[in-house]
Amino acid sequence: MALLEIKDLRGGIKDQDIINGIDLTVDRGEVHAIMGPNGSGKSTLGKILAGHEEYEETGGTVRFQDKDLFELTPEERANEGMFLAFQYPVEIPGVSNAYFLRAAMNERLKYRGEPEISAGAFRRLLNEKMKQVDMDPELARRPVNEDFSGGEKKRNEIFHMAVLEPTLSILDETDSGLDIDAMRIVAHGINQQRTADNAMIVITHYQRLLDYVVPDYVHVMYQGRIVKSGRKELAFELEEKGYEWIREEVEAAG
């Protein structure tokens, strides 16, 4: 059984479908890149999968770890092992990053019927993960994303991912707004999390992140559909020819 199985998914925002029939299967150990021009529905796909209230599925099915995804609340999806790294991470004033993560961690343990993590064990886990993703320990003490720079916010998303150890991570334009050095650090953090047991969907507009986080598969979205799939070479082709090429192909086939 695949980790994630999307069949003919349709949906969007307020009676307007943005996703027009997507099929995608993701297995453990795989990294799938989803590319496409602005407005093609990449981020919408991530939000529908994570369960954003303003987005709604209008057709098709999604099974995640052999469960009907749409039967699960957003927090149940998270506790089942799904993770969404935000394009624009949200600030939560007055709540320290460490406190926030411990609350999230304990929700997860409770959901799985396991005892809460002790303060000491959690501290050790944080230290280990901070090293792994090259995170300034100061940022763990500060309120979640408050007064973080753009790069720090993105790095914090990867830190959350490292601590929560999801089985499926959806990274929504994690490279946007990063300079090349920051992107290298973030990419390194992402690569540290890759195992044979988990999978990632990397949503990106540009090919450059994929130089560092090398995908197993690349899918190109256009007008709410996956119009082309291939191996990592497809990303290079896109970089070279631009999205105009895809547009022409789709219209020619149309």
């Binding site: 369960g51 954003h52 927090e75 998270a78 939560i92 999230a104 929700e107």
Partner: protein, 477 residues
């Protein structure tokens, strides 16, 4: 945001009525009633005289109407001004206390027994008008700390009472404080002798219990030179269909180098969704930093009452004295809170800090009203005020009325204000990390109130966080 709609619908958990025979004065207010109250309490003559002066002055006063709220007129002749549990001997042990009364405390989560053993908190419990139980007295007595009911203090320490009563809130002060001065029932009295640091948090639990019984507590705390005391006040009230007036007075006196920390968690019955049946809480709380380097801190968490109307204030008389006010006020349903502080800078280099956090949900209205006054001689006085509001839903309101009055050019006064709301984005972010809406709200609110909570004594902070969580259950979603 459907869940916002249901914000205010948590049932009041502590609503019940205890049936204990009362010895009750007839309703109404006149000089005979005041003489009756005073006689019941075996009060010294000066106190009766003081009550009568207050009453006569009250007759000349008009009820104020400048507040941001409306409430039905109170019929002061319909209020019972004295009610006491029928047998009022001073008990020697808990065994002698009416079991039903003890059960009431259990429901409130303040079992005296447990508190005695566990918390190291001395509890002066006020049940309606008369103190029935005082603990830890012996331990405090070793340090010559006086902590007892006001009535007891009037009999056993009349010199202290006479010396300090009304020195911070004079009997002519305002309509409600004057009424209180005339008819006050009981309350707590505390005196910390010079150089003594009170080794435990002193606490008192007030409870309104008899239908139509106005509550007029009077609390007086005196910290003599170089002493320190931390005082906790916490309240809940049973569900009632008629509004209950509560007009307490709290006076704090800090002499040279003394410190008083006064913390309140207030959770009286706020009324139902239509606002029916809640408590009116019209309180006068004021402290005087009389000596050099003295310090008074007010910390309050207000989640109850239909209407809260109070401004815990500090008169900074001593040079280098410090006044602080940290407040969280939460309103939902039809609750109104008009609260804030007055910092009156008289002494040189006196400093004050004001941090106010207002949270409004449902149809709740939250008003911050503050006055920072720097008098002519207060060279180098400094104030910092921060006033933050959080709105949950679109039917509530937050209002800020800061008054600043500076009479000295060397003073520095800062005022910052902000308004925020819990965003859908924040909630979604929390959910993608596995945190439910309710936990997310309580986390965000606790984060918003952090600066205030960290001023509360530990166990009170825990209680306050829980209280906000419960109060906001189902409020956003």
């Amino acid at each position: 945001m459907e869940a916002i709609e249901t914000l205010a619908q948590q049932e009041y958990k502590e609503g019940w009525v205890t049936d204990i025979e009362m010895e009750t004065a007839p309703p109404g207010l006149n000089e005979d009633i005041i003489r009756f109250i005073s006689a019941k309490k075996n009060e010294p003559a000066f106190l009766l005289e003081w009550r009568l002066k207050a009453y006569r002055h009250w007759l000349t006063m008009k009820e104020p109407n400048w507040q941001y709220m409306a409430y039905p007129p109170v019929d002061y002749q319909d209020i019972v001004y004295y009610a006491a549990p029928k047998n009022t001997p001073q008990y020697n042990s808990l065994d002698e206390v009416d079991p039903e009364l003890l059960e009431t405390y259990d429901k409130l989560g303040i079992p005296l027994e447990e508190q005695k053993v566990l918390a190291g908190v001395a509890v002066d419990a006020v049940f309606d008008s008369v103190s029935v139980h005082t603990t830890f007295k012996d331990k405090l007595a070793e340090l010559s700390i006086i902590f007892c009911s006001f009535s007891e203090a009037a009999q056993e320490h009349p010199d202290l009472v006479e010396k300090y009563l009304g020195t911070v809130v004079p009997y002519r002060d305002n309509f409600f404080a004057t009424l209180n001065s005339a008819v006050f029932s009981d309350g707590s009295f505390c005196y910390i002798p010079p150089g003594v640091r009170c080794p435990m948090e002193l606490s008192t639990y007030f409870r309104i219990n008899t239908a139509g019984t106005g509550q007029f507590e009077r609390t007086l705390i005196i910290a003599d030179e170089g002493s320190y005391v931390s005082y906790l006040e916490g309240c809940t009230a049973p569900m009632r269909d008629e509004n209950q007036l509560h007009a307490a007075v709290v006076e704090l006196v800090a002499l040279k180098d003394a410190q008083i920390k006064y913390s309140t968690v207030q959770n009286w019955y706020p009324g139902n969704e239509e606002g029916k049946g809640g408590v009116y809480n019209f309180v006068t709380k004021r402290g005087a930093c009389k000596g050099e380097n003295s310090k008074i801190s007010w910390t309050q968490v207000e989640t109850g009452s239909a209407i809260t109307w109070k401004y815990p204030s500090v008169i900074l008389q001593g040079d280098h004295s410090i006044g602080e006010f940290y407040s969280v006020a939460l309103t939902r349903n039809k609750q109104v809170a008009d609260t804030g502080t007055k910092m009156i800078h008289v002494g040189k280099n006196s400093r004050s800090t004001v941090v106010s956090k207002g949270i409004s949900a449902g149809n709740g209205q939250n008003v911050y009203r503050g006055r920072i006054q720097v008098l002519k001689k207060a060279d180098g006085a400094r104030n910092y005020t921060q006033c933050d509001s959080m709105l949950i839903g679109d039917r509530c309101g937050a209002h800020t009325f800061p008054y600043i009055d500076v009479g000295n050019n060397s003073a520095s006064v800062e005022h910052e204000a902000s308004t925020a709301r819990i965003s859908e984005d924040q909630l979604f972010y929390c959910k993608t990390r596995g945190i439910s809406t309710e936990d997310a709200i309580s986390m965000i609110i606790n984060g918003f109130c952090k600066e205030v909570f960290q001023e509360l004594p530990m166990e009170f902070a825990v209680e306050a966080k829980k209280l906000l969580g419960i109060s906001l259950e189902g409020s956003v979603g």
